[in-house]
Point group: C2
Amino acid sequence: FDFNLMVVGESGLGKSTLVNSLFMADLYPDRRIPDALDMGNGNTVEVEANTVEIDEHGVKVRLTVIDTPGYGDRLNNENSFEPIIKYINDQYNSYLCKESGINRKNIVDTRVHCVLYFISSLGRGLKPLDVAFMKALQDKVNIIPLVAKADSLTAKECEALKETIRQKIADHGIQIYDLMPVDDDPSLEDPEYVKEISSLRASFPLAVCAAQDVQEVNGRQIRARRYPWGSVEVDNEVHCDFQKLKTIIIHHLEDMIERTETMHYENYRVQCLMN
Amino acid sequence: FDFNLMVVGESGLGKSTLVNSLFMADLYPDRRIPDALDMGNGNTVEVEANTVEIDEHGVKVRLTVIDTPGYGDRLNNENSFEPIIKYINDQYNSYLCKESGINRKNIVDTRVHCVLYFISSLGRGLKPLDVAFMKALQDKVNIIPLVAKADSLTAKECEALKETIRQKIADHGIQIYDLMPVDDDPSLEDPEYVKEISSLRASFPLAVCAAQDVQEVNGRQIRARRYPWGSVEVDNEVHCDFQKLKTIIIHHLEDMIERTETMHYENYRVQCLMN
Ligand SMILES: Nc1nc2c(ncn2[C@@H]2O[C@H](COP(=O)(O)OP(=O)(O)O)[C@@H](O)[C@H]2O)c(=O)[nH]1
Ligand SMILES: Nc1nc2c(ncn2[C@@H]2O[C@H](COP(=O)(O)OP(=O)(O)O)[C@@H](O)[C@H]2O)c(=O)[nH]1
């Protein structure tokens, strides 16, 4: 099946490293790293898609990663997400046309099923752009906010930052993809499942690290970032939430597709019919 | 004597931690940490000064730290450094008036002697705002660019980032405070000194880390950032350039004051006379 993952955040937040690490694949084969300074000249945010076939536990997924270079990198970021909203709506529009077409059997679903939204670990929480983005897109697409480069935060700073972000998200009434099953979902009757979901949600937003290099640490070959003072082990749940993120994404691919279909796409369809 | 140090960079780059660590003092006693989101509403960049008397090796210095909250934190940062330029020029103007006044004996020098400019370690080098700032202020004040939160960079990434930044600075012909003595300076005849200066300059821009907490690391009490995977020792030259920065600042306080007087202030004075 098709899964379309959009990745949004300022350049240098480790987005491509994370996505490649999540799916153990090079999802940016022709990437030319744009010179951040060229983007200061009022160029618009680009939207670029790369598709790769991956195999997750025997399930074949045609994964498309949608990159948004230029987001948040300008001197003036006031229109950073217009092109992104346009892209998302264009996919809904295209799907709507195909659905109402004669040949409905083999529609290729290009709708964005999930946005990984990278928040800088540098600042004090959400920047104005982060809040504006999430408010504008929360009812159009599933958003998973992530704290990027979590290895620049001590355990205490990380928890404080997560708390600050959770508070801001609550204050602004922002709806993120947070694994909350709908009220009548049968899974809510399984206390083990509810407990697992609650504990995952308690660590939102997930603070991630990523690395593509395999290093030898204590005699084992693992993915890590080696510093003079120690190595951050990407798969170590004490070091960062990478494993949590991987678990969530792999287990919820279909749920995210369904929520896009029944909630976000439905909103779009209804809005179109009303206009 | 008076030394006026301005600190510029996006919020959360560790500026106040660094300044406090450099001078072993709390230079931000009444600091209220602004909510980054309140600043998205087009408020201007503030300029705030705090003065403290410090003792450096028996030399009494009246150190004023000038903070610039709001710089680089907006959705639209196009006017981020106008207030800063204005502040710098105001101090030159005020000095000019005092100098031409009757009582010239006890002029308090409020001119900015040095700007510590913090560059984010997240991105790929200089952002458009960084270049714009340095180009606009290079002939008005001594600028020392720093890579902030250097502990999020591996040794290899750090060197690559420094190289990228040095190249950009050279491409744009930006003049930073880089310890280069003027051509006829007698110190140039001392090969030891030249060697030491060259090696310091080769590690520009300095990549700094800071910490105010004293941690016990391997039985010693030292300033460090403790992570689950190891501790970054601020004073350890293998870990970051904090010690280099401290050395440079302490040894060049008077040189920076002199350069402000004979170069930057002189430029200002001449410009005033011509207009
Ligand atoms: N400190 C830290 N650096 C990272 C991490 N992940 C990637 N990087 C580094 O950040 C830089 C930019 O990464 P990249 O994935 O190209 O960022 P992108 O522009 O957001 O796609 C590279 O030098 C990476 O090695 C991380 O988790 N922590
Ligand atoms: N990773 C890292 N974090 C730091 C460093 N220095 C300070 N911090 C942390 O960054 C956060 C913001 O620091 P602060 O000095 O208040 O930043 P400012 O807004 O630029 O003045 C605090 O949680 C600090 O503990 C550093 O060198 N590396």
